[in-house]
């Protein structure tokens, strides 16, 4: 089997651009990346089906000159599935926009909190307490001397250029201690 070089190139371009877009934190960009990738996969099936031939209808053409019908059936299924997934992701992206008015995926709050505790060397929730220290002595502030937020906070400080709408919030959280 000799694959068609044009199709191979198309698949290569679709995959590379798709991967690039999928790496974005923007929900819609990543969706476009997914679309390009899934179309690349569909074309890959066309390459897999081998040489182009006549329409694969039994009785219309003789078997030797037909193109392989099975990959076409597979691609049709894959296209339908891709369409459904795209519709769902669009709905999800819209819902995310409704709720947060940004297209950028936020960090997990609990994850960020635990990470911050680790970088601040904050042992206040540890199982091991210093028995020798009197109860009422305040816990020494951690080296950087920055306030440790308690309770859920939105950490928008990672989410830079793309969201200008959040500039005011950003400055607040940045003062909340990024260099901990």
């Amino acid at each position: 089997m000799t694959p068609n070089i044009t199709l191979v190139l198309v698949v290569g371009v679709l995959f590379s651009t798709g991967v690039y877009l999928l790496l974005a934190r923007s929900v819609v960009r990543a969706l476009i990346g997914f679309l390009l990738l899934s179309n690349g996969a569909n074309i890959l099936f066309l390459i897999a089906s081998g040489r182009a031939g006549r329409a694969p209808i039994v009785g219309r053409n003789d078997g030797a000159r037909m193109s392989d019908p099975l990959p076409q059936a597979l691609v049709l299924t894959a296209i339908v599935i891709g369409l459904c997934m795209t519709a769902f992701m669009l709905a999800l992206a819209h819902r995310s926009w409704q709720l947060s008015e940004t297209d950028v995926l936020a960090d997990d709050v609990e994850d960020t909190r635990i990470h911050r505790r680790a970088t601040d060397n904050d042992m206040s929730e540890s199982d091991y307490q210093d028995r020798d220290r009197p109860e009422d002595e305040p816990v020494a502030p951690h080296p950087a001397g920055l306030p440790v937020p308690d309770g859920p906070t939105t950490y928008d400080d990672h989410l830079d250029e793309n969201d200008d709408a959040h500039d005011d919030q950003k400055t607040q959280t940045v003062t909340g201690g990024k260099e901990g």
Binding site: M1, P3, L22, V27, A30, F34, L37, S38, A41, L44, F45, I47, A48, S49, L70, P71, L74, T77, A78, I81, C84, M85, F88, M89, L92, A93, R95, S96, L99, S100, L105, A106, D108, E110, D111, I114, A118, E125, D127
Partner: protein
Amino acid sequence: MGLEDLVPLPVILPLVGAGITLAAAGHTRVQRFTSLSVVTAVLAVSMALLWATDQRGPQVVHVGGWPPTEGIVLVADRLSALMLIVSSAVTLAVLRYSVGLGRSAFDEEHDGEAPLPIFHPTLLVLTAGVSTTFVSGDLFHLYVGFEMLLAASFVLLTLGGTQDRVRAGISYAYVSLLSSLVFLVAIALIYASAGTVNMAILAQRLDALPPGTSLALHAMLLLGFAIKAAVFPLSGWLPDSYPTAPAPVTAVFAGLLTKVGIYAMIRTQTLLFPDGRLNTLLLWAALLTMLVGILGAVAQDDIKRMLSFTLVSHIGYMLFGIAVGSEKGYSSAIFYVVHHIAIQTTLFLVAGLIERFGGSTSLSRLSGLATSAPLLGVLFFVPALNLAGIPPFSGFLGKVGLMQAGADLGTPLAYLLLAGSALTSLLTLYAVSRVWGRAFWRAPEEAMAGSGPGAVRASREHALTYGVVMPTTVLVVVGVGLTVVAGPLFHITDRAAADLLNRSTYVQSVLVNSTADGGAP
């Protein structure tokens, strides 16, 4: 009407049930009755299938009467039947639990009192998708099964559409879609090189491929499945997304979705690429999955997140069994899958009960549960010890089996894995004992002050109703019961593993039957 006619039922029944429950969207009773009876029927069918496959060999259905070169085949062997039984049993318990919760439990934040008629149909589609992957004998059909359960899981994960769930849902959806895409590309390449997607025929043809080509195909398939199974470098998505969903949803996800990936890996490693060239790589992945996962669990403050990390960590055990590649390794891995589906689901349901009773799953807020809810203590304690692998329980038996298989392999890496799995077991014990020490044994006054005691007390009255405690208790008992039936169960998994390694049983039953009664309709 032969026994093989049972094979499509675990797929068809839930789909029909999904249609009925969707049509009966306004009628809660009809929905509950339909889905409970459908899943019970699937459980019964799966048991019959296990008997049939154990006594008479793999059951094969050629869908539409097409020969395997052209159409889809459904194959149930011992492994599939066993997985079907466990998955439907767990789904039944979760379904009963969610019925016990009542509908208003799913509307936590700003759904108000609106009922969620979509829950039952979606859960049934998820069941159908999971069953499809277990009985499929065709790679592309396996992909369709994956997409069915993924689409359903997206909906379940984002129920209610709150901010947390949408955020978790988006990252979960992208990772899942990417893994499916890798799988799809692998299928296209396999078709290009072998000219078929039927697994039995592939088993014969892939051996003839040049080693480089087959290694590339093998690696791509494993990559796709490893993302689904949350194997270490590809596991970051799981603890981020699972804890935000409602308790029954997380429970069913934790029990089933990653195990579907493990099942697909077992099939790839035994049926398609039995040469074991990637086993060393898989052993390293297993070691890292165990250790990194459990170290993550130790650092968590939230019970649900801690459980999600133990889920990742214990995937490493199953991968260990697969990577050893011996009959004993596969047998123990299958046993461990059965054990882990039951236990992990139970623990997530218990976490749901703790959340209902204590108003939170955060360890800094919970305290004194051992005195205020002793029953909850028992329900948590038994599966927690089981997960950690304390001797009488099935977790211990599974781990011993895996370690024996590793010791039989005898390489330095295998002994490293042995040490790693013992360490993981100890750290699991530490992680669950942290929960026990804080949420259950800590004196009640100190932490309850912050979280509105009046509201908590009012909700406590209705927290532990019969409807939610009963299914959880049943699952705890099933988990303990796995120890009692461990002997016969290990015999079945031994035979299943022998079948897997001796591929001819599977291949013969797919191909021979097709010449006997096959041909186009």
